[in-house]
């Protein structure tokens, strides 16, 4: 009997054990097999994180390494009000001055400890944004303040309960925290310098993009080279432990970010400063609506400076689009007499005229197509072609245009690059306005040769002048010298590019001879002459067209010149829009050219070609880096 009872007990116990194990096995199969996918997702959701590793946006540097645009790392700060207890006011008082936010507003934010969900439930608020784009140094200060945040009533107690310890830990470590990965802001340390060239950045508005909210170039080089500057974000798939720390051994995918490349411009910050200072003075003295300047190397097309005033500070982008527009490439205007270089060069190239041919300038009044043309600088009788340039005779240029003919004139407009973008690495470049011959009026053939009835950008006109300085070779304007990585390693070097030879070297030399006389006594730009250099250039004064024809008293005055004339190192263009105190290019633009030219020549160590210095010394160029080394040229034909 006893044995039987024992047997039953044994069977019962065994049965219970088997049943228990069967239940456990069932649960095991349920968890590991049937609900495997669901639970795996849940587990991974709890522990696995895909962390974005943002790339640092590259810098923009001038040719000598001067920092023009840079990115600084910032953090977005948030708070968990549920961890603050009743210390909101004290915390706000402690961190508001560091973060530069209003203490009362911050306190209000921190006091909002509850929130209502969509379905009407009141739940604790665990997240409040505190401050955006806080520099790392400030965040370190905040962290330090919070790590030692005083709570006297708890600190006085000899023994803290577990809840009190957890509260202190939460308050000091997690109540104020970093929200998401590091962010970055763009900084332009030189302020307004070259603002129109650099452009500015905004935030990517595309919510579907992986780079949503990241910096994106909006204007200027920032926009053109956005992809190169932005780099490529990386990511890391990590697992966290119960404390939120990463378990490095369990790291899955780990793709490092590739920081953006640094863009090195052909711009020289010193030359840019010299140009902008001179333009600022010129704008102030002439009371013009705006003023534009370009300095480039005719042989390579490298732009050393490009400025348009009034300008803006890219650190605080203005809403006024007028200020943000780069007038040197986006605005087109009737160039006036500077355009005569195209007409005369074309006529010389075609053999229609020679430099010493004489043209009757009709004593300042020439009737054609029912209209009367006048010379701006007084009437002239018979002038040589050279003197037509010297005196800037409209009638002389018109007559040369007539000799050249519509077809050839039109062809040369295209050859010099008018009506087409120059291809500069900047957005929003205008093409200008060159009508096809069939749309020309009867007087177009006499208007266009003197720079009316055609619209060009400041850059197109400067490139045309530079082509004559460069033995007839039209160059592509070059704004970016190279791309390099963070450690300065070269990624890509951009070489100067020839577009085409628009006139022969002989024709170009003849034009230079004519253009040299413009700054001599009797020419239209005596004030542009430099003491130690032979200058070749051309003035332009054009009445501004409006809705009802040309507007009285509104002019665009310009001077474009280069020096040393026979061995040109720099070509400088100065254009004033609606100057008030005088309006002739030779009066308002030429002095600015002289001021800029003298300063730039000194800085670039351009060997003088006039006076005792030029004849008595052995001239050698100092090796001062690529921007300051004249004549460097490796060409890619285009």
């Amino acid at each position: 009997m006893e044995k039987k009872l024992q047997h039953y007990r044994f069977v019962l116990l065994g049965g219970l054990l088997v049943g228990a194990f069967a239940l456990l096995a069932f649960r095991l199969v349920d968890l590991q097999v049937w609900r495997h996918e669901e639970l795996l997702d849940l587990a991974q959701h709890n522990t696995v994180r895909r962390v974005r590793n943002p790339a640092r946006r590259g810098d923009i540097l001038d040719i000598n390494g001067t920092l023009l645009a840079s990115s600084i790392k910032v953090k977005n700060i948030c708070a968990d009000p549920s961890l603050l207890g009743n210390l909101q006011a004290a915390v706000a008082r402690a961190i508001a001055p560091v973060l530069g936010v209003d203490e009362n507003r911050l306190c209000e934010k921190l006091l909002a400890t509850n929130r209502t969900t969509r379905d009407g439930k009141v739940v604790p608020r665990l997240y409040v944004p505190v401050a955006q784009q806080v520099p790392v140094e400030k965040w370190e200060q905040v962290k330090e303040i919070m790590a030692n945040f005083p709570v006297p009533e708890l600190e006085r107690k000899p023994h803290l309960t577990r809840a009190e310890k957890l509260f202190l830990q939460g308050l000091r470590r997690r109540a104020i925290a970093v929200d998401g990965p590091d962010d970055q802001v763009r900084q332009y340390p030189q302020g307004t310098l070259a603002a129109h060239v650099l452009g500015f950045v905004g935030r990517n508005p595309d919510t579907n993009s992986i780079d949503f909210g990241q910096l994106i170039g909006v204007e200027g080089i920032e926009r053109t080279f956005n992809k190169k500057l932005a780099g490529a974000s990386g990511w890391r798939v990590i697992e966290r432990d119960c404390r939120g720390n990463e378990m490095v051994a369990w790291r899955d995918q780990d793709v490092p970010a590739r920081d953006g490349f640094n863009v090195v411009l052909t711009i020289d910050a010193v030359v840019q400063t010299l140009l902008e200072n001179a333009l600022r003075e010129g704008l102030s003295s002439s009371s013009a609506a705006n003023i534009t300047g370009i300095i480039l190397r005719p042989r390579t097309g490298e732009i050393l400076a490009m400025a348009s005033l009034p300008d803006f500070d890219p650190n605080r982008v203005p809403h006024n689009a007028e200020l943000r527009r780069n007038r040197a490439i986006s605005d087109f205007y009737e160039p006036g007499s500077t355009f005569k270089i195209v007409t005369v060069a074309a006529a010389l190239q075609e053999g229609v005229v020679a430099l010493n041919d004489r043209v009757d300038c009709e004593n300042g009044a020439f009737k054609f197509g029912g209209r009367t043309l006048h010379d701006a600088h007084g009437g002239h009788g018979i002038l040589s072609v050279k003197n037509i340039i010297t005196k800037s005779s409209n009638i002389g240029a018109a007559k040369i245009g007539l000799k050249l003919g519509e077809r050839r004139l039109f062809d040369y407009l295209g050859e010099f690059g008018f009506g087409l973008p120059t291809g500069i690495a900047l957005p929003a470049e205008a093409r200008g306005l060159v009508h096809p011959i069939k749309e020309w009026s009867k007087v177009s053939i006499v208007q266009i040769p003197m720079g009316h009835g055609v619209a060009v950008t400041r850059l197109q006109m400067t490139m045309a002048m530079a082509a004559l300085a460069n033995e007839g070779w039209l160059m592509r304007p070059m704004l970016v010298n190279r791309l390099q990585d963070n450690s300065g390693r070269l990624i890509t070097r951009f070489e100067p590019q020839r577009v085409r030879q628009v006139v022969s070297a002989d024709t170009a030399r003849e034009m230079v001879e004519a253009l040299k006389t413009v700054v001599l006594p009797g020419g239209t730009a005596v004030q542009a002459a430099l003491t130690n250099y032979t200058v070749a250039g051309k003035t332009g004064t054009a009445q501004k067209p409006g809705p009802g024809g040309y507007q009285a008293g509104k002019y665009i005055a310009s001077f474009i010149g280069f020096f040393p004339a026979d061995n040109p190192e720099v070509c400088i263009s100065i254009v004033l829009d609606e100057p008030k105190n005088g309006y002739y290019g030779g009066v308002v633009a030429a002095p600015i050219f002289k001021q800029v030219g003298s300063a730039v020549a000194g800085y670039l160590h351009i060997p003088p070609d006039v006076g005792p210095v030029a004849t008595n010394t052995t001239l050698s160029h100092l090796n001062l880096g690529s921007a300051r080394t004249p004549g460097r040229l490796t060409l890619n034909d285009n």
């Binding site: 600084i72 051994a249 003491t531 020549a601 160590h605 010394t617």
Partner: protein, 122 residues
């Protein structure tokens, strides 16, 4: 031949015990080794993380210093400094700048060739 069964049985038990001990020791060592390795992985993981953070900090610091240097060398800053120091430095006029070429050094062996002198005949 009679055999000593008692002794044989004892020998067998001792061998089995030895094997069991060895197996247990091996299993124990493997288990401890496994835990030790896991711990090492965790420790090394933490060290890697710390070094990664330090590397990022140093890179940031390096970048900040480079930017600072570039700023100090920028034309605007230099002009400002010149103004503050009032040294009276101005840009020279191009006519005031004299550029001279360095005399070309002639190697001794090439002296005769360079000067056209005759080598001594005696």
């Amino acid at each position: 031949m009679a055999r000593n069964r008692k002794n044989q049985a004892v020998a067998l038990r001792f061998g089995a015990a030895l094997k069991a001990v060895a197996f247990c020791a091996f299993a124990g060592a493997a288990a401890v080794g496994y835990v030790w390795q896991k711990n090492q992985i965790d420790v090394l993981g933490r060290q890697i993380k710390q070094r990664e953070i330090r590397l990022a900090e140093l890179r940031d610091q390096n970048k900040k210093l480079r930017d600072q240097l570039a700023m100090l060398q920028s034309p605007g800053q230099l002009a400002l400094k010149l103004q503050q120091l009032n040294l009276g430095l101005i840009q020279p006029h191009p006519g005031d700048v004299w550029k001279v070429t360095e005399p070309v050094e002639v190697a001794t062996g090439d002296y005769t060739a360079a000067t056209g002198a005759q080598v001594a005949q005696h």
